[in-house]
Amino acid sequence: MSADTPASQPELLTCSMCGYRFDPDENEACESCPMHRGCALVCCPACGYSEVDPRRSRLVSLVSRLAVRLRLFRRPVRPSAPGLTLADIPPGRRACIEALDELSAGRCHQLQAYGVAPGRYVEIVQQTPVTVIRVEHIDLAFESAIARGIRVASGRQSVSAAQQ
């Protein structure tokens, strides 16, 4: 995982039996079970149904990683900053930076030194394989994890319209 991803919320499990959403780490009853060490099962606090916690199962996590590698399903998208982020703006549009508060302080400092600072406009050049933006007269490339941590005000204005 990148150092720049925002602090994520605990990943909740949804019980397949009753639909209750819960944090598997909060199930304190497991601690009293003599076989809990290395156990991948977690019980739903509402109905008691046993669910596999993928994070605890080595086999499941191995298969999931393999599936991600083989692109059997989409890589889970890391949480974005609330609202519109730089990653949401299509290439060729301009956007006004609103905040970089989802990024680490060091990364924020570095980007602001390049001119990616609140109140400034940037042009989105491309989004894949990495995000490339134009700030003043330089192209700056960074990973989409960083783009998702940059909140923007609007991406509706195209570059040609902005120049007019």
Partner: protein
């Protein structure tokens, strides 16, 4: 990247250092890739490596000024902002703290004034005489950007000189501005809590040539370089007070002090720029910009990369390694130079043993110099020429973008592609270039991969030449095994080495047409460096083999290595000599194996096994020393202890697998 110091003789170097300590140096600072090294070249007449990508200078380069009497000029690595984020940026800040600086010259990109001014403010606050060089003004004008340099000079209270370093425009004016430079009286007001702390820190921080406000701001921002500098100069109690002051200041803000300071700077620049910069038109998107964008496009990037790889293969592999080596080794050395040298040595030296030392089987000339000049030099020369061309165009940062996903699998980001590609030229140079990576973990991983599996061009040329002579399948087996080892070791190391992967953030300089004189100068400078490093090692290797052979130790060593080389790797016992000199340089070892193959002593299977093993060998003695210098003796020893057994382990595994499937035997 590595900065060229080859032309700086020790007497020249000491006179510059003496000059610097007596009068203080003129230090060039600025963002990466704004032309500091070109300006340094213009000011001193000394050549330093100049490229169209950030990170060309990772160490300080020193020279005597041409237009200013008794003045030393120092070129520093590019710095995006203070506090520094990478080791090369820290080198620049340490220079300000530790060395006597007479004048700061900030080299800025005239068309990107906003970001340049953020650094200008920080440098102006240092309290040293300062000049701002508005460089690349030709590019600024072409994009419709004009700067009112007089008004800017007035507002910042320092001399501002527009320059075009590549053409030498404005350099003399800059030199005279440096002579008369004075410390700017720019004073930025920070929030009250910070101002109070700065006043308190002024009395407690150690004495420095820099203004205590600037040092205090860096201290409050938690800068590691300033922290180490202060810790070396104050007693424990003072250090505790200073740390307490910093913690107290930080507690008064909801965000970091560094963010607060930067916001003040941003506001100052936002107020200043509209007054001094005029943009007459947005400018049209030129061909270079379009091509630059295609080079990172998700579809077009790959055909472009394939075309570049094919062009490089043709020029280095087919032309350099095939045609040039064939002509120089076969005709020039084999039929003309060597017979003539052998004849004259035997005529002039009547003692057979001494004559053999020069022109025998392990002779200094017939082995050491012939390997270096006839087999390796043509390949290295063609590779360095291609590499210099790529550097100058600005393609390499785009390669970092394209390969980012591959490097993420190795726990790195695409920026690691820059030292890796340079490693194809020389692993020692590339080890130094890992400083451009942002944290210790990334640098350690990149150095491990460089030392493990990135062959230098000389070795690559020989390897491809030998494998190409067998079949495409042989090349694919070698490439597949080496790539698999790199991926497995890289992925494992990424999990074992503590710390988190750093996400990619990289400036993409505009694509430019390469300047032929610069390309040729860089190629020549690298070749000179190569000859200085490689020839002594090749001569030492030949001398070592000669002594071992004459004393009868070589057959004993070959016997001692036989279980490993013949039993495990399935190679002829004589291949031990190649691995023995491989400790000095692995391309030397590869050259020995090349000679064995050309004498028909190796089967196709043995060639593949030998090439896999020698590719995964430690690169050379010089690179191990460089690893020890950069990351410490323990790391260098640990890497050597990991790489050597692994090379033999994988080589043996390939041998037994190929034997099992019945591929490539005689």
């Amino acid at each position: 990247m590595w900065s060229w110091r080859g032309d700086l003789t020790s007497s020249h170097s000491s006179s510059i250092l003496e000059l610097e300590s007596r009068r203080g140096a003129v230090a060039l600072f600025g963002h990466p890739n704004v032309g500091k090294s070109v300006l340094f070249q213009r000011l001193t007449g000394r050549y330093v490596m100049v490229s169209n990508y950030p990170g060309t200078t990772v160490e300080l380069s020193r020279g005597a000024a041409r237009f200013m009497a008794d003045t030393a000029v120092v070129d520093t690595p590019g710095i995006v902002a203070l506090p520094p984020r990478s080791e090369d940026e820290q080198v620049a800040l340490r220079m300000l703290l530790d060395e006597p600086v007479r004048t700061i010259v900030q080299v800025s990109d005239g068309k990107n004034l906003r970001r340049s001014l953020l650094l200008s403010i920080q440098l102006a606050e240092m309290g040293l005489p300062m000049v701002l060089a508005l460089n690349m003004m030709d590019e600024a004008e072409a994009r419709g950007v004009s700067v009112d340099d007089r008004l800017l000079a007035e507002r910042l209270d320092l001399a501002v000189v527009p320059t075009v370093a590549t053409r030498g425009t404005g350099v003399k004016r800059l030199a005279s501005a440096i002579e008369s430079a004075r410390a700017p009286r720019l004073r930025i007001t920070y929030p009250e809590a910070i101002e109070e702390s700065l006043a308190e820190l002024a009395a407690r921080l150690p004495e420095s040539a820099l203004d205590s406000r600037a040092v205090g701001l860096l201290w409050l921002s938690g800068d590691e370089t300033v922290e180490a500098w202060v810790a070396d100069r104050v007693d424990e109690e003072t250090l505790r007070d200073l740390v307490a002051c910093r913690a107290e200041t930080a507690s008064k803000f909801s965000e970091s002090v560094s963010a607060v300071v930067q916001r003040v700077h941003l506001a100052y620049v936002d107020e200043l720029v509209p007054d001094v910069v005029r943009e007459t038109s947005g400018g049209s998107v030129g061909l270079a910009v379009k091509l630059g964008r295609l080079a990172t496009d998700r579809f077009w990037a790959w055909p472009i990369l394939a075309a570049i790889l094919y062009g490089t293969y043709w020029f280095v592999g087919v032309f350099g390694s095939g045609y040039l080596v064939g002509w120089i080794e076969g005709s020039l050395f084999g039929k003309t130079i060597n017979p003539w040298v052998i004849e004259w040595v035997h005529r002039l030296v009547p003692v057979h043993l001494v004559a053999d030392f020069f022109v025998g089987s392990y002779g200094l000339w017939t082995m050491g110099m012939t390997y270096a000049l006839a087999l390796i030099l043509p390949i290295v020369a063609t590779f360095f020429l291609v590499f210099s061309l790529l550097e100058d165009t600005g393609y390499l940062p785009r390669l970092a973008v394209v390969t980012n996903r591959l490097f993420s699998a190795l726990g790195l980001n695409g920026k690691a592609a820059l030292p890796m590609v340079l490693g194809l030229g020389c692993v020692t140079m590339a080890t130094l270039t890992t400083r451009i990576l942002e944290n210790k973990r990334d640098r350690l991983l990149a150095i491990l991969l460089l030392a493990l599996g990135v062959p230098c061009s000389a070795q690559l040329g020989i390897v491809l030449g030998m494998l190409g002579a067998i079949s495409l399948v042989a090349t694919l087996i070698w490439g597949g095994v080496v790539l698999a080892v790199i991926l497995v070791v890289g992925a494992l190391a990424a999990r074992l080495v503590p710390g988190e992967r750093t996400a990619l953030v990289l400036e993409l300089p505009p694509l430019r047409l390469p300047v032929i004189s610069n390309v040729l100068a860089k190629t020549a400078a690298r070749l000179e460096w190569y000859l200085k490093e490689v020839v002594p090692l090749f001569l030492a290797g030949a001398a070592l083999l000669f002594v071992l052979d004459e004393t009868g130790a070589l057959p004993a060593l070959i016997n001692a290595f036989e279980p490993l080389v013949s039993g495990w790797l399935g190679l002829p016992a004589a291949a031990s000599t190649a691995f023995l000199v491989g400790f000095l340089r692995r391309d030397f070892g590869a050259t020995g194996l090349f000679v064995m193959q050309s004498h028909g002593q190796l089967s196709p299977q043995q060639v593949v096994v030998a090439m896999v093993t020698i590719t995964l060998f430690i690169p050379c003695v010089a690179s191990v020393f460089m690893i020890a210098r950069e990351r410490g003796v323990r790391t260098a020893a640990a890497m050597t202890a990991l790489i050597l057994p692994l090379a033999f382990l994988v080589g043996g595994a390939v041998h037994w697998t190929l034997l099992g499937i019945g591929w490539g035997g005689r």
